[in-house]
Amino acid sequence: MLYRVIDAAELPLLVSAFMQQYEVVAPVKRGRSYVFDAIEHPEDMVLDYPTTSASLKKYFLPPKETLMRFNAQTNRVAEHTLEVPPRVIFGAHACDINAINRLDQVFRDGTYNDPYYCARRDATLIVGISCTPADSCFCHLWDADEARFGYDLFLQDIGDRFLVSISSVEAANILESACNPREATDQDRIDFRHATRRRQASFNPGIPDIQDVAMLMDAFHKDDFWEELGSRCLSCSACAAVCPTCFCFDLQDRLSPDGKQGERYRVWDACTSPQFAQVAGGHNFRPEGRERVRHRMYHKLNGFLANHDRMLCVGCGRCVKACKADINPVKVLEFFKQKGADDASAA
């Protein structure tokens, strides 16, 4: 990894340089929260933003994406070109970069890659930025508070400068042409260490750090806790919609108004949706909120780990805010903490 330092004042130059060749997407304020959106001027973005309400996955796995078109009269596949604008995501937090790395595991690095996902992923540069954890953040518990790969540049705020980790030639060239990157000094390194420590110290201590979560999930699979948690579920799937790592989708067809052309598209779906596990013949093997919520938490904190060696949760805290019924992984951690306390007092 190559490290360089630039002045904070140079940042708009970097953004402008990207804008000449790419669509630049960055955090902007909308309503009471922040969202990622295309910006027209560097000053539109807010880099010291708390986690956005929805994630970056929309740029790789759009909520609705046409996969093919067909002629409904001849039943033949028709012409369809995928439009993928070259894009820079500017200002992604570490958890969100780690979430994209999870999506890569699913859509790019598996046995069958997803050409739509890969086309978007390949056309996108990612510039990460350091953050200050909010109350609902728990990325550090899943080792997702640091992005080790999956970005082109990562900007670490060290006061009036940024320590820049450079991991792609494409981005390095743009950085080189737009700014005056210099070698890091001892002082830069000291400031970096201080910034990192400050950040580590500011995570919400109220969120329990539980070892062996995956194992505990197996041990308590039949606990009444899941009924308690799942019976609150509103069946909305807001949690999966905002989650940066939930990747499930449904495939549907739709005809043009004249009935002559058709398109096949995918739309986000989620295991929290009541019909998600309904199969041919009408049987639904997760008919109740209890089973659906439990499934979601298991895929997050147990199942994915078994197959991909990572949690499918990066602790971004989005579902903590989005779920109006107060169902989220923190509740699971609190339950395990309570169980541990109960066991200790029983012993």
């Binding site: 909308r30 309503g31 009471r32 929260s33 969202v35 956005t52 309400s53 929805a54 929309k58 909520p63 409904a72 019976s231 609150r232 579920c233 509103l234 069946s235 909305c236 799937s237 807001a238 999966a240 919609a241 905002v242 549907q252 067809d253 739709r254 005809l255 043009s256 108004p257 004249d258 009935g259 986000w268 989620a270 949706s273 009541p274 019909q275 309904q278 909120g289 989005a322 109006k324 019924a325 107060d326």
Partner: protein
């Protein structure tokens, strides 16, 4: 929604375009009119069917034979009830359109203590009112094959349902509630500033249209069969919204739903 055998195969394949009637019960006629708001596509849509009767434009009697009945409006009289049953017996597919037909909608707003109401309005109830019954949705009386929800309908949603009736479709109707649609729009949630929104319990599908325009959901798509009313009331309390206001708001489009308190059934 009750889905009949037909929904998988469609009514076409008889060597002629599907014959369609559009009929209306208690409603503002807005959904029928809304169909025409598909404007540049209207002729394309009509090109796929044989529109044998459209109540909005027709004063001739409805023909005896047809394939698809598009029905707007709630059932509020005994006459309407028997007309609806007759439509069902003749139609291969029924598409209920708009809140009135799907949930009882605005006519359903008076269903609580309904039988006391006519005399509150009229000193002598006019003959033209017919023999009034508590307002109810189409599905309370006959099986419905397809539904286009909301007040008013989105004409494109209607065309999708019409095409499903014609060409067949095995697409499942989701009972997911609205908030995930809302999250896709990336607007802030009304509950965050203590404002009531019925997205918590309303069927998804409209794309959280009202929230996107800055107004809370009023529930016109109807209460989802998966709605969790108890939990939704707790959510309200958690966000400082009076749960009674939530129940009251449900009376607007969902009063005839047996799951809603004070529904008359």
């Amino acid at each position: 929604m009750t889905t009949t055998e037909l929904s998988g195969i469609g009514v076409r394949g008889q060597g002629r375009p599907a014959r369609v009637v559009v009929a209306s019960f208690a409603s503002c006629f807005g959904c029928q009119l809304q169909i025409t708001n598909i404007e540049q596509h209207l002729m394309d849509v009509l090109g796929q069917i044989d529109l044998v009767y459209w109540q909005l434009t027709d004063s001739t009697p409805m023909p005896e034979e047809f394939d698809i009945a598009v029905i707007e409006g709630a059932v509020t009289t005994e006459q309407a009830e028997s007309q609806l049953k007759e439509l069902r017996s003749k139609a291969k597919a029924i598409i209920a359109i708009g809140s009135c037909a799907v949930t009882g909608g605005v006519p359903g707003m008076v269903s609580r203590d309904f039988y006391e109401r006519p005399s509150q309005v009229y000193p002598k109830v006019p003959h033209a009112c017919g023999k009034m019954i508590t307002p109810r949705p189409v599905s309370a009386i006959v099986n419905v094959d397809f539904e286009t929800r909301c007040c008013p309908i989105d004409p494109y949603d209607f065309v999708v349902m019409l095409q499903r009736a014609i060409y067949g479709s095995n697409k499942l109707a989701t009972t997911r509630t609205l908030c995930s649609d809302c999250k896709r729009n990336e607007t802030s949630c009304f509950f965050e500033d203590g404002t009531l929104c019925l997205g918590l319990v309303t069927s998804a599908g409209c794309g959280a249209r009202c929230v996107n325009l800055g107004r809370p959901c009023l529930g016109c798509a109807g209460l989802s069969p998966s709605a969790n009313l108890d939990s939704a009331r707790q959510c309200c309390e958690r966000y400082g919204v009076d749960a009674r206001a939530f129940d009251e708001r449900l009376q607007l489009f969902n009063q005839t739903n047996p799951a809603v308190e004070d529904s008359d059934r």
